[in-house]
């Protein structure tokens, strides 16, 4: 295992790519993803990877290139954020339904407008129906670890789906943290050789990719995606177990923190999960029986795992870093779905927060806990906005 590095989230992902050495990377720059493609460009210019690195003329083309390359038989990675993800939105669904196991890093940034380069989750929340697996990392270490695990998950024969690994823009992409790395050889062995299925470049076994499917077949083909998604949780657990062996770091799909004996729990994704643990510790010191939950795998949503944690709690709040104007947050919806069936379901409220990079203060999260403990709070609440 290498020496720990002081490195930011973007550079950590570029480093993971370097170790994975993908066949093709096609991308378009956008803040706060740029450090990834820039750092990776340095590896390319210095011949440290074999990758064919393509600067596309737009994100729509970047994703189209990735799909073409993946169908052709290459291992493919890319990265984007915000407007970039928005511009390739059409192609996201196509990548997933063509079953191209592309791995894409997302530096979460809010969607315009107003235009703003900072973090919220509106970009990836908007892609939650696209059929991509979504993993969220809390910090630089997880940015790196998720990237490496993502290739194994995406390429698993039961899955064969593209994977997004998301980290909070600036908060993680541009922050220097301590990173424990794996040796190059360990990464190489962990991900293994890429085996394409019926690649286009297999001239001897010509394959037709992307025909039109009319009502007589469409649903059957689409349903395969539901089945593939159905196997992601189990595959991811396997991959995480293997990863623990080589890294010593053991991850779960959903991670409860001091939840066993907690009465009140707050659920979040991304960097806020860390701040939440800090707050839980502070409040525990003061005797409050609180806990927190971090969602690492957001698509497919690990309903059972979450329900097992939330069962019997007195009150739960869900933090959504994105607004769906006219209804509650996306994470909130999935939490409600997860507990709808269980007998001892808690009451759950929703907090929209941190839009456009509005910083999250520990005091505010304490406030959320306090509202949950008091049984106050509307069904949908807005945290930290000057109303």
């Amino acid at each position: 295992m290498g020496r720990p590095l002081a490195i930011n989230g973007d550079a950590a992902i570029a480093l993971a790519w370097k170790q994975v050495n993908p066949d093709v990377v096609a991308a378009y720059p956008i803040t706060p993803q740029t450090i990834m493609v820039e750092a990776f460009s340095d590896y390319v210019a210095d011949g440290q990877v074999d990758t064919e690195y393509i600067c596309a003329e737009s994100e729509h083309s970047a994703m189209s290139i990735c799909i073409g390359a993946s169908a052709a038989g290459a291992r493919v990675a890319t990265a984007t954020a915000s407007a970039g993800l928005a511009l390739m939105w059409e192609m996201l669904y196509i990548a997933a339904s063509m079953r191209t196991p592309i791995v894409m890093a997302i530096a979460n940034r809010t969607l315009s407008g107003p235009i703003n380069i900072h973090c919220d989750h509106s970009d990836t929340m908007g892609a939650r129906d696209s059929g991509w697996v979504q993993l969220y990392g809390e910090n630089v270490q997880e940015a790196y670890d998720n990237t490496i695990m993502a290739f194994r998950i995406a390429e698993n024969m039961k899955v064969r789906l593209p994977v997004m690994t998301c980290i909070d823009g600036f908060i993680i992409t541009h922050a220097l943290e301590r990173l424990e790395t794996l040796d190059d050889q360990v990464v190489e062995d962990f991900i293994g050789l890429y085996q394409a299925t019926r690649p286009l470049l297999d001239i001897g076994n010509p394959t037709t990719y992307g025909p039109i499917a009319l009502p007589d077949y469409f649903y059957e083909i689409k349903y395969q995606q539901a089945v593939a998604m159905g196997s992601v949780a189990a595959v991811t657990k396997e991959v995480m177990a293997d990863y623990a062996k080589v890294s010593g770091r053991r991850y779960k799909l959903v991670e409860g923190y001091r939840t066993e004996d907690a009465d009140h729990v707050v659920v979040a994704m991304g960097s806020t999960s860390g701040t939440l643990r800090h707050v839980v510790d502070r409040m525990r010191e003061r005797g409050s029986k609180v806990g927190s939950v971090k969602i690492r795998l957001f698509r497919p949503f690990p309903s059972e795992e979450l329900a097992a944690i939330l069962k019997g709690k007195k009150g739960v709040a869900v933090m959504d870093r994105a607004l769906s104007p006219g209804t509650g947050g996306a994470l909130y919806s999935d939490v409600l779905q997860s507990i709808h069936d269980i007998p001892d379901a808690p009451k759950v409220t929703n907090y929209i927060y941190g839009l456009g990079g509005r910083d999250v203060m520990p005091e505010q999260l304490e406030g959320v806990f306090e509202e949950v403990m008091a049984g106050n709070g509307e069904r949908i609440n807005f945290m930290g906005v000057r109303i």
Binding site: D23, E52, A71, L200, G210, L214
Partner: protein
């Protein structure tokens, strides 16, 4: 196919794609991919890039050629940028535009390739507006302005010329482009059996000159060369318009000025082209 090497094909959404692959049937006996409407150049860029790296890594030893097809909508309008980007990056592929001068797959809507005065479902000839008001984009010239190693205009009626040009497009290293006029009976409103005859008329009237641009040099070919040399007559555009229902409304005597304007524009473009070929 004008190459004896194995070929991988990408196709944009459009008539050609829908007509050849309706699940679970496929007419393609070579590897083929369709992903969307506006991105065949990007898709083939990805395939070609995979090829380059797999060759470099020694995982593939066959030489393969790459070709992408798109209609005029896919090429002149919604996919222009994708094509421009792929050419700028210098991928090694042949792009063929099947130009039937409208969005046929969706029912004959106007495209950037639709000719001035033509009636389509989104620029219909009405009591106030006589068909399309704008002149078409000259896409071949736009592509040539990218300075690719090879670009050409062709027509199916002169298939030898078309095959020669395709051969060059395949052989040359780097991006090549061929724009093929593709008459469409339903969209242009002519009898289906006249398809080839009408393509020929496009060339004979200089509405669609045959030429190529190879490593910086312009050259007329086929009937167009003979017209420029004077060994063949240049027919009036009116003949072209008369052959198709989409121009019918222009022929009732009310629009002679417009017809004249169109003839002038065809003449001016033709003269410019002849000059470029003499440079």
């Amino acid at each position: 196919m004008a190459t004896d090497k194995p070929v991988v094909v990408a196709t944009a959404t459009g008539c050609f794609e829908v007509a050849t692959t309706i699940y679970p049937f496929s007419s393609w006996e070579v590897p083929w991919i369709h992903t969307a409407f506006e991105n065949a150049p990007a898709t083939i860029s990805g395939v070609e890039s995979a090829y380059k790296v797999l060759r470099r890594k020694g995982l593939l030893d066959q030489e393969i050629k790459f070709v992408a097809f798109g209609g005029d909508g896919a090429t002149y309008d919604i996919g222009l940028q994708s094509l421009s980007g792929a050419i700028e990056r210098g991928h090694d592929f042949l792009y063929v535009c099947l130009n039937n001068e409208a969005y046929m797959n969706t029912g004959i809507q106007r495209s950037g390739a639709t000719e001035r005065g033509a009636s389509t479902t989104t620029c219909p000839a009405g009591t106030c507006i006589p068909g399309k008001r704008e002149f078409p984009k000259d896409l071949t010239k736009i592509i040539i302005a990218h300075d690719p190693p090879y670009a050409a205009q062709a027509s199916p009626h002169n298939w030898k010329d078309l095959v020669t040009k395709s051969g060059k497009g395949f052989d040359i290293q780097g991006p090549a482009f061929i724009n093929v006029i593709s008459p469409c009976p339903r969209g242009w409103r002519h009898d289906g059996s006249l398809t080839i005859a009408i393509a020929k008329l496009a060339v004979e009237t200089c509405v669609w000159p045959l030429y190529e641009f190879e490593n910086g040099t312009w050259r007329l070919t086929g009937e167009s060369l003979r017209i420029a040399e004077g060994s063949r007559e240049k027919k009036p555009v009116l003949e072209w318009m008369r052959s198709q229902g989409r121009f019918r409304h222009l022929l009732n005597g009310e629009h002679t000025a417009l017809v004249e304007e169109i003839q002038q524009s065809v003449d001016a473009n033709w003269e410019r082209l002849v000059k470029l070929c003499r440079l």
